[in-house]
C-alpha cells in the first residue's frame, strides 16, 4: 500500500512537470492518463484503508475517512481530465493556445496533486500547508481565464481564502499548544496520537482551536458568513476548474474541519462542537436556499448549490448519530459526482449559447440532445431526487437528526432543501424545457 500512496503523490506532480514542457496534445494525453491512473490507485487503496489505519513514513496516514475524500477527488480528477480534451479544443485556433493549454494542464495537475495529498497527511500542520497550496494554485487557475470577472474573482478568492486559512493556522498553533501539554514540547501535530490522548487535553485551547478551525477552514468550505468569495470564484473560473473546486476542494476543506471535530468531540464532549457546526450549517443552508431563488447566472446558481450542500454536511455532522455521519460521507461522494456533472453540463451550455445568463438560454433539450438530459439529471440529483446518491444521503442525515432528537433542525433542513430544489428546478426548466424564442441569438452548431 505504501507504493500506492507514494504513486498517488508522485503521478500528478510528474504529470504537471511534463505538461509544462510537452506540446499541447501530449499534455492533454498525459493529464487524462494521470487522472484515470489516480482514480484507479485510489480504488486500489479502498479495501486496505477501510479495514485499518495505514501509517507510513511517519507523515502519511490513510484511514477510512481519508479514503472517502480521496475517492471524491480521484473520481472528479479523472472525469475532468477527460472533459478538458473537448473543453479546450474549442479555443484551438486562438493564438498562444499551446502556451495557455500547457499552463492550464500543469495547473490542473498540480491542483489535483495538492487535493490528493491533503487527506493523506498525518500531521495537522502539513494538512494546513496542503490546503494553503490548493488555495494558491486554484487562484492562479481562476485567473488564467482572461476576463475582468475572472481577475476580480481570483483576487477576492485568494485574499479571503488566505485570510481564513490564517485563522486556521492560528487554530493549528493552538492545537499544538493543547497537544504539547500532554505529549511534550516536540509534538509534531500528528493526528493519531492527538486523538488517543484527547481525553487529557486542556479544554480552553481545544475549544479555541476548534472554533478557529471551523471559521478558518469554513472560509474555504463555503460556510456562511465567510463564503463571499465562492459564488464569484466558482462562476468565473474555467469549467473544469469550477467542477474540481465545487466537488473536491470544498470537500477537502470539510475534511480538515472533520479532523478538528474528531479531536474536539473526544476532548470536550459532543455539545460544543455540534452546536458550532449546527449554527454555521443552518446559516449556509438558509442563505444559499434564498439566493438560489433569484439567480441569473447558471454557474453562479451551481455555486450557491455548493454552499447549500456544504451547509447540509455541517448540519449532518452536528446531528451526531452514526447514520447521520454515514449519510454525510456518502453525501461527499454523491455531491462530488453530481456537482461535477452539473458543472460540466453547464460548461457545454455556456459554450453552446455563448452566454452564462439564464434568461438568454432556452430550448436546451432540443439543441443539446446529449448534454441537455445529462444536465437535467444532474440538477435533479443535486435537488435530492431518488434514485440518486444525494437522496439517500440526505435521507440518512434526516433520519439521524430525528434519531438524535434534533427535530427542529431536521425540519428546517427539509424546508430549506425544498426551497433550494425550487430554485434549481425553476432555472433549469427555463433553460432546458422551454421552447426556443425567436429573437434569441443563434447558438453554435458544433456543440452537441
Amino acid at each position: 500500500m505504501l507504493v500506492v500512496i507514494v504513486a498517488l503523490l508522485v503521478v500528478p506532480a510528474a504529470a504537471a512537470l511534463i505538461c509544462l514542457r510537452a506540446p499541447a496534445a501530449a499534455a492533454q494525453a498525459v493529464t487524462a492518463a494521470s487522472g484515470v491512473a489516480c482514480f484507479g490507485l485510489v480504488l486500489a487503496l479502498v479495501p486496505a484503508a477501510s479495514r485499518r489505519d495505514l501509517n507510513y513514513l511517519s507523515y502519511l496516514r490513510v484511514d477510512a475517512i481519508s479514503v472517502v475524500f480521496l475517492l471524491a477527488t480521484g473520481f472528479l480528477y479523472a472525469c475532468v481530465a477527460v472533459y478538458c480534451v473537448g473543453y479546450l479544443a474549442r479555443a484551438r485556433s486562438d493564438p498562444g493556445f499551446s502556451a495557455h493549454s500547457r499552463r492550464f494542464y500543469a495547473g490542473l495537475n498540480l491542483f489535483a496533486w495538492a487535493m490528493l495529498a491533503a487527506p493523506m497527511m498525518s500531521s495537522l500542520a502539513l494538512l494546513w500547508v496542503a490546503v494553503e497550496v490548493t488555495t494558491v494554485i486554484s487562484a492562479l487557475l481562476i485567473a488564467i481565464e482572461d476576463t475582468d470577472g475572472a481577475a476580480e474573482a481570483a483576487w477576492k478568492y485568494v485574499l479571503i481564502a488566505s485570510a481564513g486559512l490564517g485563522l486556521a493556522l492560528l487554530a493549528t498553533v493552538f492545537a499544538y499548544y493543547a497537544g504539547a501539554q500532554v505529549l511534550g514540547q516536540s509534538y509534531n501535530l500528528d493526528f493519531g496520537p492527538l486523538l488517543q490522548v484527547s481525553g487529557q487535553l486542556p479544554h480552553t485551547p481545544v475549544r479555541l482551536a476548534f472554533g478557529l478551525a471551523v471559521l478558518g477552514f469554513g472560509t474555504k468550505m463555503g460556510l456562511v458568513p465567510v463564503h463571499t468569495w465562492l459564488p464569484d470564484a466558482h462562476s468565473e473560473a474555467p469549467t473544469p476548474v469550477s467542477a474540481l473546486l465545487s466537488g473536491s476542494l470544498l470537500a477537502v476543506s470539510f475534511y480538515a474541519i472533520l479532523r478538528y471535530y474528531q479531536v474536539a468531540t473526544a476532548a470536550l464532549g459532543p455539545r460544543f462542537p455540534r452546536d458550532v457546526l449546527l449554527v454555521f450549517g443552518v446559516a449556509s443552508l438558509l442563505l444559499a436556499a434564498l439566493y438560489l431563488l433569484e439567480q441569473r447566472d447558471v454557474k453562479r446558481m451551481l455555486a450557491y448549490s455548493s454552499i447549500e450542500h456544504m451547509g447540509i454536511l455541517a448540519i449532518g455532522v452536528s446531528f451526531g448519530a452514526p447514520i447521520a455521519l454515514a449519510g454525510v460521507l456518502l453525501h461527499v461522494l454523491a455531491h462530488a459526482a453530481a456537482k461535477g456533472n452539473a458543472f460540466m453540463g453547464a460548461g457545454v451550455i455556456v459554450t453552446k449559447f455563448a452566454t452564462k445568463r439564464i434568461s438568454q438560454v432556452s430550448g436546451g433539450l432540443d439543441l443539446l440532445p446529449w448534454s441537455g438530459p445529462l444536465f437535467l439529471l444532474s440538477v435533479l440529483a443535486l435537488g435530492a431526487m431518488p434514485p440518486f446518491g444525494i437522496f439517500r444521503s440526505e435521507f440518512e442525515i434526516v433520519a439521524g437528526g430525528l434519531a438524535s432528537g434534533g427535530n427542529i433542525a431536521s425540519a428546517i433542513l427539509i424546508v430549506l432543501v425544498t426551497l433550494a430544489f425550487l430554485g434549481l428546478v425553476a432555472t433549469t426548466n427555463r433553460m432546458l424545457l422551454m421552447p426556443r424564442a425567436a429573437q434569441v441569438p443563434e447558438p453554435k452548431e458544433s456543440v452537441q
Partner: protein, 231 residues
Amino acid sequence: MAAVAAPSVFSGGANVVAVGVLLAEFGMFRQALLRDQVRLYAAQSALISVLAVIVAAARHLPELYVLAGLSAALKVVIVPILLRRLLRGTGRDSGEHGWTDIAGSGALSLASTVLLAIAVAAFGFFSVGALAIRSPVLPVTALAISVSVALVAFVLMIIRRDVASQAIGFFSLENAISLTALVVAAGLPFILEVAFLFDLLVVVVVFGLLIRVHHGRAESLSTADLTSLRG
C-alpha cells in the same frame, strides 16, 4: 489600588519588541508609498526574528536560532526583493523606481481607522486575558499582543482599498501568527516551521502574480472597480 509588579528585564524587553511589532502594524495604515509599506513589513519581520533570538538565548532553544535566521532571510530579504521584482512597472510614473503611490486609499480617515484598530486591539487584549493559556517561554502579554496584531491586520485588509496593502496586510497576518507560534508553540518541530516558511514563499509569488494581473486590467492598484460581481 494595588501596584502592578515589575516584570523581569527579559519579560520587559520581550514585551517591548512585541509592542514594536504591533506599532509596525499600525504604521501600515499610514503608508503612502508601496515601497514604504514593504519596508515596514520587512522591519516587522526583523523584529520578530529578534524576538526569536532573544527567546532562543534566554530559554536555551538552539533550533530557534536557525529558525530566526531562516525567517529573517526569507521575510526581511527575499520577500521584499520578490515583491519589488513582481510589482516593477506598476507605478504611475513607472521606471526604475516604479513604486506606486497608494496614498489615501482607505475607506475611513487615518485617525478614525486608528481608533477603530485600537478598539479591535483592545478586544484582542482582553479576550486573551480571559483565556487561561500560559506560555512556557514568553509572558502572556506577548500572546495578547500577537492576537491583537492579527486582528489589526484584518482591519488593515478591510480598510485599505488597494491590492498591495491588502496583500501586505495578509503577509503581516502571517507574521502575527508566527509571533503567536513563537509564544505558544516554540517547540514546534523544525521541519514543520520550514514547511510554513516555504509555503509563505509560494504565497508571496502567487499574490505578486495576481497583483500584476489586476494591474494589467485595471491600470491601477485600487480595488474601487472590483464591484461587478454581485448577488
